[in-house]
Symmetry: C2
Subunit: 119 residues, 2 copies
């Protein structure tokens, strides 16, 4: 039942808001480390560290040009994580349905005249 | 752009094969720590530690019965993680399409007579 490796690395890499924001930025197109560091109040070495985690997880790749080495989004690990999560869709859909039913019930009760409640 | 908290905890909790296997077991129904520990070659305290991580991430809840305290799956954080990943669906679908095109091209080339290749 235990699957090792790629999914562990993908989920671990996604467990950080800066790394998720980097991926969101790369969804708009390739970017260099400098461009990626700009919107964050953290140093370039700190960004480079995050990029290494993303790269090891296969979530980004980096160009070969010596100076720029632009980063790009690699979606395969996101697809793998999504596939794993999809196994549980029926659970959250059921709980949304229960929530909907509860809300409908509450609305119906609010529509009833107040004195009806006391009977 | 940075979203904190719940998603971090959910993704971090999912970054471990034993914890994912525990959730898979709970998808079949509630289970006690003892029942959860059974299929794994690890100690009950180790399982309890994993359960604490899952509970803090909101991925499981535990019953109130003093002795048994059965665990149950709580799908909301899985839904949240899925929602985040869905933003990237177009990327992996595009790359699957590119893969399909490449495979079609390869098949078409295989069908052509060999001497055609040399022209």
């Amino acid at each position: 039942m235990q699957t090792a490796g790629p999914l562990d690395a993908a989920f671990a890499a996604l467990a950080d808001p800066t790394r998720r924001a980097i991926l969101a930025r790369l969804a708009d197109g390739e970017a260099t480390v400098l461009e990626l560091a700009q919107p964050f109040a953290i140093s370039q070495p700190a960004i480079s560290k995050h990029l290494k985690v993303l790269e090891r997880a296969g979530l980004i790749s980096r160009g070969r040009e010596a100076q720029r080495r632009p980063c790009r989004l690699e979606p395969a690990p996101l697809a793998a994580a999504n596939t794993w999560l999809e196994n549980y869709r029926r659970f959250w859909e059921e709980s949304f349905e229960r929530l909907d039913l509860l809300l409908d019930e509450m609305k119906a009760q609010q529509k009833r005249p107040k004195k009806g409640k006391r009977r």
